[in-house]
Subunit: 376 residues, 2 copies
């Protein structure tokens, strides 16, 4: 993997760059749609390419490991071949899901023992086997195994958790560096900064992570219940330390405002289930504000879903029709809303990139942030 | 509307023709995907055009009347504008749903009083207002209001029901012929043959329907529980009488074998929820037989969904991946299966047309019928 930092904004810490992988280029800042079990929910691969214009998607190691499982993924020749997506894929480490989804997890220095939320079967994730699993999935970007403490963790817990994550990181890197890709393309490994809501821990963690000088670095354990201002502060603290010439990935964030605020603080990569999950529930993000399409007020509104929209559905269909689909519980409603939201997210980061390159990002961002949070 | 009978098969009664409407041409035999409330479930309009290659879709008057309702549809400029589908649309009369879905229906000579299955509200369908409603929906082809008796109805009931349907037909035609289209394109009106499973009633009904010399004629009240052989016999009896130079539409039929058997007996138009409904449940129709994609046997089968398939998904994805989507309850599974099944149905009628034009239909049909019913 290669990263080129093309431009840093003259008023903020926002950056424009480009990542090159064996599956293609990724302009940054970038948003990665979440493809939990291999599919971005409700979206055909060709629409992900042509309508959403996604450059890279994310897969969840925890889910893919349990289903379809490594045997199937290996026989398929990896996730790209399995799901028909030929552009880059990043996989998380499974840690977040082990702590949020599985039953009866038991944490030790060795790793995390857990029971599948599907059938109760017993499994163990370790910093080493999580690398092996992601090698088999065939991710272009592999994430370190980390513990993600809750947003309201106290100092002691956040500290111990960070220490554990650091020890796990060393073992993960050793495993990654001593193994080869399973398929015929290269893979890279990103470590993850932890440290809860404590600037001194975040600083310490960022320094430790930076010391490994990997091809990219991630910030984890944010957007997990802490106030937004704390999240932004942690991002600033960490990005002051993480190397400038490597991409920075803020995991699991966020709404459109969060993304612009994090871009202005030097973040390059994002993922979040919000555009698809909220889309399935009828919430549309637009550059003019948020629409609850199920609302009665759209019943006879025949204006386009989003006149400024960036996928073909935005102007093909009216708000009235999309509302009708939701009210009638037609699956096409969630499908259209998911594509709309993702295409909006991809537009947002692409436009941010353009503004950064033109040195107009700061003013543009301030205007957008006001609009994005409005309720239409 | 115009119909040109291009060719009649030399060994069977199968026909190839073409219908011309103000929304475009429809080669026959044709299959019409069902778009219940305006959307063909789970399928984007562009995929209906490009992947399924549908020429015409069907909308359900009962559903559209209740939701979004006539006010919205009229303001939208009709269903084509509302749902983004610019090719022809046929609407049923709502009769079938009144008798199968609604609560507390009360039949009289005047029409059918019923309560909405959605909110219990009281409504009345008459032969006249059902024409008015379909005018507002903006269907290219409008169906007469009929009573559809169950497949096991006795002679007396089938006779009385047929008489009622005939009286209603006269009133429907009077209303249609004395009113104009609501929008800027022409609409046509098809009467419906009834008569249960009794050849003498079917004959009588077909003669009555033929006497109106409308631009097309339909056969209703079949595939409602009677044995398949009875259905085929009724189709033969009726098609001996219905005019040759008008398209014949067999309502609500059926599986791929039913369709080929009916084509060979002179039917030109079909609709059925089977390809989408069964697709959503993981049943795939292919030219080699039927696949239950949820079956364990496909778990590690990386061959294409359908190597002979006619939509891009058939070869993009493996059976293993589609099974994974179904087992994981990902909505993309039903989406892909629905498109596959509809594209197969459209291929089947298109290929039947080609075989008819080449005078090779009979042998081809006999071979296909054997294959289609197999379980893979």
């Amino acid at each position: 993997m290669q990263f080129t930092l093309e431009k840093t904004d003259n008023q903020t810490s926002a950056r424009a760059g480009e990542i090159i992988t064996d599956h293609g280029k990724i302009p940054t800042p970038v948003f990665m749609p979440v493809g939990t079990v291999g599919s971005v929910k409700g979206i055909h691969v060709k629409d992900l390419e042509e309508e959403v214009k996604a450059h890279i998607i994310l897969g969840n190691t925890y889910h893919l490991y349990l289903r379809p499982g490594l045997d199937v993924l290996k026989q398929a020749g990896g996730l790209h071949r399995f799901n028909g997506w030929n552009r880059p894929i990043l996989t998380d480490s499974g840690g977040f899901q082990v702590f949020s989804l599985s039953d009866k997890r038991k944490l030790s220095h060795e790793g995390a023992e857990f029971r599948s939320h599907l059938d109760g079967s017993k499994h163990m994730f370790t910093p080493e086997n999580v690398v092996d699993i992601q090698r088999v999935i065939g991710a272009d970007i592999i994430m370190a195994f980390d513990e993600c403490p809750p947003g309201d963790s106290d100092f002691k817990y956040a500290f111990q958790s960070m220490e554990l994550t650091h020890k796990w990181l060393k073992r993960g890197i050793e495993r990654f560096d001593s193994t080869d890709p399973v398929y015929d393309y290269s893979q890279t490994f990103f470590p993850i900064v932890q440290g809860g809501s404590f600037p001194e821990l975040r600083r310490k963690s960022a320094e430790y992570i930076a010391s490994f000088n990997r091809e990219g670095n991630a910030i984890g354990g944010l957007a997990v219940g802490e106030p937004e201002e704390v999240m932004y502060e942690m991002v600033e603290v960490v990005n002051d330390i993480l190397p400038e010439d490597k991409p920075r990935y803020l995991m699991g964030v966020g709404n459109p405002v969060n993304i612009l605020e994090a871009i202005s603080r030097g973040v390059d990569m994002f993922d979040c289930v919000m555009p698809t999950r909220n889309g399935r529930n009828g919430m549309l993000f637009t550059s003019r504000g948020i629409i609850n399409i199920k609302n009665e007020k759209w019943k006879a509104d025949f204006s386009p879903i989003d006149p400024d929209g960036h996928c073909s559905f935005d102007t093909l269909y009216s708000k009235s029709y999309l509302r009708h689909l939701f009210v009638s519980r037609e699956m096409l409603g969630p499908q259209i809303a998911s594509i709309h939201n993702l295409s909006f997210y991809l537009w947002l980061v692409t436009e941010a990139r353009r503004q950064i390159q033109n040195d107009t990002f700061a003013a543009w961002k301030d205007g957008m942030v006001k609009q994005l949070a409005r309720r239409l």
